[in-house]
Amino acid sequence: MTELLVVLGMAAVTYGCRVSFLARAGPAPAGRLARFLERFPLALFVSLAAATLLVPGGLEDPVPGYAALGGAVGGGWLTRRSLPGVLAGGVAAYWLARALAG
């Protein structure tokens, strides 16, 4: 019962944040707030990736993580930044690095 309440609490907190601006149909943000919102997704995705692939402690063995990052950048470069290209390059480099490391 306690864990069910925890799940409902997590859902309420998460949905509350997600719906905060969508719930009201106000004017679009302007000025620096608009520019902040424009650049927030990029900052968020880089931070999410860096937390695992770059920051110490993100992975037990960091070298395959660095290889994955390099492979992802290379895959993106070769496929004009397509999502499947980035994924394929990153995952291939990760598995290659793990295989080479034994």
Binding site: P41, A43, S47, L48
Partner: protein, 222 residues
């Protein structure tokens, strides 16, 4: 909506999310049952919360009580507020039921696809995001159920599930870099993530992203 070209493009682009998020869902399902949580509860959380980060935090803190889990979930959920504001600006005036539905699966991955689609001039962003959301949620639920079913026999770290997901975020960031100033924001975000290591883990990502985007707010567009 189901016949709109935007919906079909959302399905096409969301297919990769089905695979990637599905794999991460398997990892979550495995860890959930290995932490001693009931299978039905692990799956219910995937349907109601739809947040990998928050759900992994819950699994990691299983048995610690509601307080620590909700603090962690709040820290992780704060990043959805600017996402909500950005998406509201992108979709414009819509009926309340559409806006409430869009918020349910307002997750990093489909948000990223939708922002990129908006930059390409996608005519119906609601249909596009609905299709991507549908595939992401399907993959997340199917992966969770599979992981929970076979959880006792699998080790997600052995096949690098966490790396797969991190690379997905690289892929979502890539099309958003359009100028040298965007590159600077990306570098700042990476650096801020290192600096945020002094914060509790649940707050690091949000804090680093907010700092980098705040600096980005005073930089030129091109």
């Amino acid at each position: 909506m189901l016949r709109s070209p935007s919906f079909r493009r959302g399905l096409r682009d969301g297919l990769v999310l089905f695979v990637a998020v599905g794999a991460f869902g398997v990892a979550y399902g495995i860890l959930g049952v290995q932490a001693g949580l009931a299978t039905w509860l692990v799956i219910l959380a995937s349907a109601l919360v739809v947040s990998g980060a928050a759900q992994f935090a819950w699994v990691g803190l299983a048995g610690a009580g509601a307080g620590p889990v909700l603090v962690a979930a709040s820290g992780l959920a704060l990043r959805h507020i600017p996402m909500s504001a950005r998406l509201a600006g992108l979709v414009g005036p819509r009926p309340p039921r559409v806006r409430l539905a869009l918020a349910w699966v307002l997750v990093d991955e489909t948000f990223g696809l939708t922002v990129a689609a908006a930059r390409r001039g996608e005519p119906d962003l609601v249909a596009y995001k609905a299709a991507a959301d549908l595939l992401l949620l399907s993959g997340w639920l199917a992966g969770t159920a599979a992981g929970a079913a076979f959880g006792a026999r699998l080790d997600p770290a052995a096949w690098g599930a966490e790396v797969f997901f991190a690379v997905l975020f690289v892929g979502l960031a890539a099309p958003l870099v359009r100028s040298r100033w965007d590159l600077l924001v990306a570098a700042l975000a990476a650096g801020a993530t290192f600096g945020a290591a002094i914060l509790p883990s649940a707050w690091r990502i949000t804090a680093a992203a907010v700092v980098a985007a705040a600096v980005g707010a005073v930089l030129p567009d091109d």
